[in-house]
Symmetry: C2
Subunit: 357 residues, 2 copies
Amino acid sequence: MKKKITLKQIARELDVSVSTVSKALSNSKEISEDTTKKIQAFAKLYNYKPNNIALSLKNRKTKTIGILIPEIVHHFFSTVIRGIERVANRRGYNVIVGLSNESFTKEIINMEMLANGSIDGFILSISKETLLKQDYHHFNATINQGMPIVMFDRVVNEVECDKVIVDDFNGAVKAVKKLIENECKNIALITTMDYVSVGRLRTQGYLDALQAGGIEADSNLILKIDDSLDVENHIEVLETEIAHFFKSNPSIDGVFAVNELYAVTAMKVARKLGLSIPDDMQVIGFTDGVLSKHATPSLTTVSQHGQKMGEQSANLLIDRLEAEESETEQYFTNNEKKRDFIKMVIETEIIERESTK
Amino acid sequence: MKKKITLKQIARELDVSVSTVSKALSNSKEISEDTTKKIQAFAKLYNYKPNNIALSLKNRKTKTIGILIPEIVHHFFSTVIRGIERVANRRGYNVIVGLSNESFTKEIINMEMLANGSIDGFILSISKETLLKQDYHHFNATINQGMPIVMFDRVVNEVECDKVIVDDFNGAVKAVKKLIENECKNIALITTMDYVSVGRLRTQGYLDALQAGGIEADSNLILKIDDSLDVENHIEVLETEIAHFFKSNPSIDGVFAVNELYAVTAMKVARKLGLSIPDDMQVIGFTDGVLSKHATPSLTTVSQHGQKMGEQSANLLIDRLEAEESETEQYFTNNEKKRDFIKMVIETEIIERESTK
DNA sequence: TGTCAACACGAAAACGTTTTCGTTAAATAT
DNA sequence: ATATTTAACGAAAACGTTTTCGTGTTGACA
């Protein structure tokens, strides 16, 4: 078992000093051509690679970014990670992920675990419990310690940082408009509780689109699902709620759901009730994931562009990190151009499939 | 902006030495009660937390495990990550993830990037390209450098390390047996190319189960999909292949597919061809993911227990890491009990849903 | 009063780098 | 021949910890 070799060992073997080895490997012209060749050959032979941890300590940066998300078994979030990893990798960074599991406490623990030097900055999406509590002190605390944060999707005004969001409001508007154009007269909304900001925005879009279309909103046509308990394991509850909803409102001929699970479940329930999709009822969901693509009928959705969100987030974060860097270098200049915080909005579009006419 | 405080700063402020601060914070009885109180109070006030990187360098271990998988937007893999993160977190470890994107080169680059001190060990699943090339030198190289690896799902005999796999063979046997019991006479197999070991094992299970059931295997009833190009974006190709397959073999009344996407697509195609599921054709897939659960009709599957695989993998790795640790401590004893490599097999079970009778 | 243990703390090394600042010897300039 | 530059290298500090090994002061004891 050949343990990884260090500068010190190379130095000892070749009977030179550590500094000489280091310089030779970086092709410093302080070192003679002969010794440089010799050292480089030896290093190559033993497959020397500088130790990342030592570099991190010396440079006071880890070239690692921390991702903190509520859940990973989730098409949208994993898509975002893919996007982050893509640009991180391209720009020489690693990613370390923490899962909050929608829990306030786990979110804090994870942040503290990572904020102690392990990473250079965060990309995160807020957990439901945190949104419910409206307690954002941990975010502000880490920002105050000089660690930049980029928030995506579930963001909040109370924290000042770069943000990447999807245009939830307009996405919803587009979806509902489409249903109106397709001559739906009684358009229902299936949404979550209000505290998740994206749900609120999508609801607002629904209402505005109705008004713009000259349709009066009917609160009976809005179904709010309590997703505090994870829905994945309570499909039956979801199904019965929707079934009851449809039965009490037989006039419904169009449904806009704020996520694809609700939409697909709605289709399933509708068909059990003998309704044909899209003939008797048209359905549009938010978030374009696997379910939408492979459901029968396949689901018309508002695309959420998770990967793009991830890429943008990573670019924002790394840009800021590297700006900081050159900023401290030019500390003597009065070049105090702290970049303002950016709120990047990703446009949505409707992907038409079989669940609409 | 309050940057994180260090031992040195505390020492300077309180006019003691760094060593005193360190000892006081770890409640060493070398330090008087008075100064201990004072230092701890100060540390708490400034929210001192030891720097992880410095600790890593000193202890020569990072308390971080590296995950290297082919793809993250994938229900099975993300489930595994969730499992790993769960026990890693519980046992005081972080996880850093790299994606190979099914590419040999990216797999190597990622490994080298992480193997230089960033992590204590790997949990990984081999990329398709690597399996195709059958070039495993990078795995053996990192193992030789003293970095333990745990492989899951896509494993290979050529590398000596701990492994966690699902009982692919028996899973397939169970599925096909079930179809036979349900009186299917012409059972088709939809599988991948042979080089992915799991596909091969599942195929073998299919063949064995047929034989055990007294049914002669018919090579016409086996459809091999070339998944070298990612299927997600070539659904149409997949659909037409399956449609052609079904049309040329109208006798098929049962289908076993080696993943859920193939299974769900098969159902979709069958229905387009006017077949009713499960009456005219029964379908069972491998891997219990979102699609299986939410398809209509919902799909009977062989569960793959991704989360459990992740948990077991993490436990195996951490056990080995901590065994190594105590081993080097007791270096003077002749206690050379290197644990043998373990191959852990997770049992599968059939989850019955609507696609079978 | 002199010896020794206990107490409370500091100095320094170590982890693996990079970089600044010597230092020595040879080469060049005066 | 002397002064000065240059080439080639080493020593040491620094990043933030922990830990081993002093070291000085106090008090007890003979």
